[in-house]
């Protein structure tokens, strides 16, 4: 909310600099998001990127030099001798008479009229004044210099709003009110500072000048001076002409109205227009302006009906106002000309013929105030904020009134707003106010009382604030307080301490946010802390005992896996959890039928490519590989994160998946020879074996498998204890091509981390090291091509027994000597006993056992 300080000062005196007021409001929960200076200089610092230091909120504006920019009086406008599009103004700047050149179209009508009957007041800039350049876009500073324009000397000018930094308007020069005294520094006459205050949902009561003034009063100790809500009523009573019927008091607790007769519609006075525009509202006419002005001032939105239109609709009967919810399919033409279909939760102000306005949101076209309006029915009502909010959202009709009503306005504010507006309309619009106010108040707002034991204040804030200070803080916010002794157990000593006192508090009738009981106490304690000042509350270490400490084994497992993968040279990536089914389908070769996945879908996606929750981490990592393809020939990526799977329960399952993608040469290019062969299946397998052994997963195995995403002959499932954890292998070339790696081998793995967890032990045993020498020997065996190496190794281990310490495959040979359809495998074997030196006979026995097993069970042929 924009708060011009010149306006705010009407309700509270303060002599602190604007920056200090902004800072106090900010620290008290009313964040000042920016400070706009109109013609005035900030206390310290710079504005708009000018050099200098600035602390505090964003500031913008232009300071008017008090010597060089003053109020001027134009008393004659003469034609320019050499230019039709320029005029010469005779101007009095309080010191002397100047001839000022201008091309402002709004001065042309006065050209050649001789001395003006009513001189014009303008903003006059003397030579050397610093202004914004009116002809350049944005705010470009320029200094006013002496020059000759079309043969006439010019050293000063009459300013537009843009040149002064008031608005973007450069259509003509700014005309000041007639009361502006010539020669006065413009900064004194027009200068202002506007604070833009952010109103949080709990601060709805402060979305008005009086509210902000109340906060300033509480924060500075200066007295609040609210406007007078009294009015002079002398007109015919309204009661016999108007009936109010509230059908749903829960939506419309109060409806008040007053009638003004013989109002003259016209522009509102300059001071009101100025305040409205500085607060961000466009002046329209005196009646509309007054309703807006009073809303900004008191927080009560008002609505003005053209009374004669209402009377005409009633065809001679008394006007009956009915408030109710909309009927199915009901429509209204609002004053913006739109025909709107209403929802059943929308509250309407109607008469017997139908809807007149959408309550609290927008008036109807038929009964709006026009230039010809003479009699006005002024409405001030209270509405349920939740239903207003739903209507605002459904109709997409945000407005200043809706902003306030949808956050809550206390029903007591109605009469204040009504009185204030009626009196302004009478004095500024010449109306006669009906002698009575129609006030229907079926649902009285309860008076909120809270008992606040001083002990509670200390219990929650951890600081002793004297009861007198607490009461004073609450009273500064218009709470009513009474200090009482807590009706507690009998005290041992006769002394009464602060802890024995309770404040009996009554909330003021502008607040809807104070609860009762413990909640009410917390609400009050917040007010106390806020005004007392958070900075004054000390920092005290927690005195409570440390609760039982609990680790998070699940997270620790994930972090351990991350560390291992990083140690193996992989880069971690984190990607969007939101994706699109077609993006995940891209991990299948084109034309392939993609297994149907059930997705968690968003009801309101922000972009189509992020409309479901992902089912595959691999797809996300491949997207990352694709995005980096043009910049690198080599990558090793992994992501460990959740996927989202329907579970049959309201919430999806969120199992963690691990995806790895590997591509490009083993080693990067170097000045020495490096291994530039592309990483293959076994590089990836090595990484997986590294991670699994690093996690001490017992004996993982790899088994050839088929998966449409992978190369049909280069894909394996990863098994631990009979459970398939996932798949790995070389991606199908067509998939690689889809992810920008055409012509390259793209290796990938996808593991369900949840299936791995049961194998991740907190403890694992470490074997002792044998002190006896090992026996080393090589063994070469020829087996059929279709015998997997894994089986050969297992056979060696199972036949050799525990004494076989290691089985290292060091060569695989295919060729003539092995015979066609065969392969020759060469192993380096280590035999070692933990408790003795192995003799040659024993080693020979082991070897014999192994050979027998290989030849007998695997039809192998061992070369001797």
């Amino acid at each position: 909310m924009k708060v011009p300080l010149s306006w705010l000062k009407e309700y509270v005196d303060f002599d602190l600099p604007p920056e200090e007021i902004a800072s106090r409001l900010t620290f008290a929960g009313l964040e000042v998001e920016s400070i706009e200076y109109i013609g005035l200089a900030p206390q310290n610092g710079h504005i708009d990127g000018l050099p200098g230091e600035e602390r505090g909120p964003k500031a913008r504006g232009l300071a008017w030099d008090r010597e060089k920019i003053v109020v001027g009086r134009v008393f004659e406008v003469l034609p320019h001798p050499n230019a039709d599009r320029l005029v010469l103004c005779k101007l009095d700047d309080g010191r002397t008479i100047h001839t000022v050149l201008t091309g402002a179209p709004n001065l042309f009508p006065y050209k050649g009229q001789g001395p003006l009957a009513k001189p014009l007041k303008v903003a006059y800039a003397r030579e050397g004044a610093m202004l914004y350049d009116g002809h350049q876009p944005g705010n470009v500073l320029t200094t006013l210099q002496r020059m000759k324009i079309r043969g006439v000397e010019s050293y000063s000018m009459i300013c537009s709003e843009k040149e002064l930094g008031i608005s973007a308007d450069h259509e003509g020069v700014m005309i000041l009110p007639d009361d502006a005294p010539a020669g006065t520094p413009l900064a004194d006459y027009l200068g202002d500072v506007i604070l833009d205050v952010k109103i949080n949902p709990n601060m709805a009561r402060n979305a008005n000048m009086v509210g902000i003034a109340r906060e300033v009063s509480a924060l500075t100790g200066r007295k609040l001076r609210p406007p007078s809500y009294l009015f002079r009523a002398s007109g015919e009573p309204l009661k016999k002409h108007l009936r109010i019927r509230i059908q749903n008091p829960e939506f419309n607790p109060r409806f008040t109205a007053i009638l003004l007769r013989d109002v003259q519609i016209g522009p509102s006075p300059a001071w009101m227009q100025r305040r409205l525009s500085r607060a961000g509202m466009r002046p329209i006419n005196n009646i509309v302006d007054i309703t807006n002005y009073v809303m900004l001032e008191t927080g009560q939105p008002l609505h003005a009906f053209d009374w004669d239109s209402l009377a005409a609709r009633a065809s001679g009967n008394a006007v009956t106002i009915i408030t109710r919810t909309a009927r199915p399919g009901e429509t209204i033409v609002t004053l913006d000309g739109a025909t709107r279909t209403l929802d059943d939760f929308t509250v309407l102000v109607c008469d017997e013929k139908g809807p007149l306005s959408i309550a609290g949101v927008m008036g109807g076209a038929e009964t709006e105030v026009r230039d010809t309006t003479v009699n006005i029915l002024l409405e001030a009502a209270a509405w349920d904020y939740l239903s207003i909010r739903r209507t605002v959202q459904a109709q997409k009709l945000p407005s200043e009134a809706a902003f306030r009503f949808s956050r809550g306005v206390h029903p007591a504010a109605t009469l204040r707003g009504l009185g204030r507006a009626a009196e302004l309309m009478r004095t500024l619009g010449g109306g006669i106010i009906s002698r009575d106010t129609v006030d229907t108040y079926p649902r009285k707002a309860p008076v909120v009382r809270v008992d606040l034991p001083m002990k509670e204040v200390r219990r929650l804030l951890g600081v002793n604030i004297p009861p007198r200070k607490v009461a004073q803080i609450l009273e500064s916010l218009e709470f009513v307080c009474r200090v009482k002794e807590t009706p507690a157990r009998r005290r041992r000593s006769g002394k009464i301490s602060d802890d024995d006192l309770t404040l009996q508090v009554i909330a003021p009738d502008h607040r809807l946010d104070i609860g009762t009981g413990v909640v009410g106490q917390a609400d009050l304690i917040e007010e106390i802390a806020r005004i007392y000042g958070y900075a004054r509350i000390p920092e005290v270490q927690i005195a409570d005992l440390l609760p039982i400490q609990r680790g998070n084994p699940g997270l620790e497992q994930e972090e351990a896996a991350r560390d291992l993968l990083v140690n193996l040279g992989l880069q971690e990536v984190l990607t969007y959890h939101l994706t699109a089914p077609e993006k995940e389908a891209a991990v299948y070769p084109p034309g392939m039928e993609v297994p149907a996945a059930e997705y968690i879908r968003l009801a309101n996606p922000i972009v189509p490519e992020r409309r479901v929750m992902r089912c595959s981490v691999l797809a996300s990592v491949l997207e990352t590989a694709a995005r980096n393809a043009s910049r690198t020939d080599r990558l090793a990526l992994f992501e460990l994160g959740p996927v989202y799977l329907p579970s049959g329960k309201p919430l999806p399952a969120e199992p963690v998946q691990l995806a790895i993608v590997l591509a490009g040469p083993r080693e990067s290019r170097d000045w020495r020879p490096s291994d530039r062969t592309p990483a293959d299946f076994f590089d990836l397998k090595g990484i997986l074996e590294g991670v699994l052994s690093g996690l001490h997963v017992p004996s993982p195995t790899f088994e050839s498998t088929r998966d449409p995403r992978f190369h049909p002959g280069r894909c394996a499932k990863i098994l631990v204890g009979g459970t398939a954890l996932g798949v790995m292998g070389q991606l199908h070339p067509q998939v690689a091509a889809r992810f920008e790696w055409a012509g390259h081998d793209l290796l990938a793995a996808e593991l369900n981390f949840e299936l791995l967890r049961p194998y991740l032990l907190r403890q694992y045993p470490v074997h002792s090291i044998s002190e006896y020498p090992p026996v080393l020997e090589d063994l070469a065996v020829v087996v059929a091509e279709d015998v997997p190496v894994e089986r050969v190794i297992q056979k060696i281990r199972s036949s050799g027994g525990e004494i076989v310490q290691s089985v290292l495959l060091f060569d695989v040979y295919r060729g003539e000597q092995a015979g066609s359809g065969n392969k020759s495998l060469a192993f380096a074997l280590t035999y070692q006993a933990p408790d003795r030196t192995l003799g040659s006979t024993e080693a020979e026995e082991i070897r014999t056992r192994i050979i027998r097993a290989l030849e007998g069970d695997l039809a192998g042929k061992v070369r001797r």
Partner: protein, 341 residues
């Protein structure tokens, strides 16, 4: 006789000092210690001397021999060292050639900052508690004192799923309810990390997903003064011993009183710079005393228990620490970005 030996010794030692390569050394050895060397001849011919001169001549002759042998050994060592040094000289490298590039794995910057946050809070007795990313409306809002249609809901732009009442959590705060319901009425100190989601345009400043770490302490004597001290401690651990903090009133429906915590800008030291938008302060945390309604929803009696909660954005902290200007870098995963960590 003896003078001859002295002269020989001096001559030999002088000659040895001149020998600077293995060849010269061998020649010297041949000359002074070889079989036909004059010293050998002298010692071989001792028997020809008169008996009276023999002992003295023999003693002196052997003395000279030992001296020359020792000198030879020293000379050999000296020359070998010189030869080796010479050979090593020729093996000199250009030490400015690049080292062998190894593939170094790295954690994602979000993981790095999360771990730092976990570590600090762990030392302060706050342990990690996780809860689902896809949440019930009740947990994300209603139980946190944000009823349906309440204006406070405007503070979060929410992604809803097609399942009624199920949404992507907009903050980690629902974890407060999960944790409290699991542990109440035992006192509690946890942090709640995780991914959150907001319905927002993706720009340099806003993302549809981001991490959050929320903290929660509940106990019989937790105060606002405790909250201030705890967060000031965290800021010093995170941003350096001298990091100053300031506390501003703010509003969150699930805490009361609520506050925003700023740390003095570590880029400019509080003088004002573009990073802190010339305010000298950086907003890093939202926090407050747990609202009595939330405590009650979590299973604690607000008359007996009190608590505080706080929340921070790891990506935002990483951006401030490293001067990262575009939040989209985090999920963009451009290796040129990731490889800087």
């Amino acid at each position: 006789m003896l003078e001859q030996l002295d002269t020989l010794e001096q001559e030999a030692l002088a000659a040895l000092a001149q020998a600077n390569d293995p060849g010269a050394l061998a020649a010297w050895k041949q000359t002074y210690l070889g079989r036909s060397a004059s010293l050998s001849t002298f010692l071989g011919d001792l028997g020809k001397l008169p008996a009276a001169e023999r002992p003295l001549a023999g003693k002196r002759g052997n003395e000279v021999k030992r001296t020359l042998e020792a000198a030879y050994a020293a000379g050999e060592e000296r020359i070998n060292a010189a030869v080796l040094n010479h050979a090593l000289q020729s093996e000199a490298l250009d030490v400015t050639l690049p080292g062998r590039p190894l593939r170094r794995g790295r954690l994602h910057p979000s993981t790095l900052i999360l771990r730092r946050i976990y570590a600090i809070w762990a030392e302060m007795g706050f342990q990690i508690y996780r809860s689902p990313n896809v949440e019930l409306d009740d947990y994300n809002f209603t139980l946190l004192n944000i009823p349906p249609h309440h204006p406070a809901r405007d503070m979060w732009d929410t992604f809803y799923t097609t399942e009624e009442g199920v949404l992507l959590r907009t903050h980690t705060s629902p974890g407060q309810i999960h944790a409290m319901r699991e542990f109440a009425p035992a006192p509690l100190r946890v942090i709640l990390p995780g991914m959150c989601f907001r319905y927002e345009q993706i720009t340099a400043r806003s993302e549809i997903q981001f991490h959050q770490v929320e903290g929660l302490a509940v106990g019989p004597g937790i105060t606002f003064a405790n909250l201030k001290a705890t967060l000031a401690d965290f800021a010093r651990r995170m941003f350096g011993e001298g990091a100053r903090t300031q506390f501003r009133a703010d509003h969150f429906p699930f805490t009361e009183p609520s506050m925003e915590v700023d740390v003095e800008c570590f880029v400019c030291g509080g003088k004002g710079c573009p990073v802190c938008k010339f305010s000298g302060w950086l907003e890093i945390l939202g926090s407050g005393m747990v609202h009595p309604t939330v405590l009650r929803n979590g299973g604690y009696d607000p008359k007996v228990f009190s608590g505080f909660a706080f929340g921070m954005g790891p990506e935002r902290i990483a951006m401030l620490r490293h001067g990262i200007e575009d939040i989209r870098y985090f999920w963009g995963n451009d290796l040129r970005f990731l490889e800087q960590f």
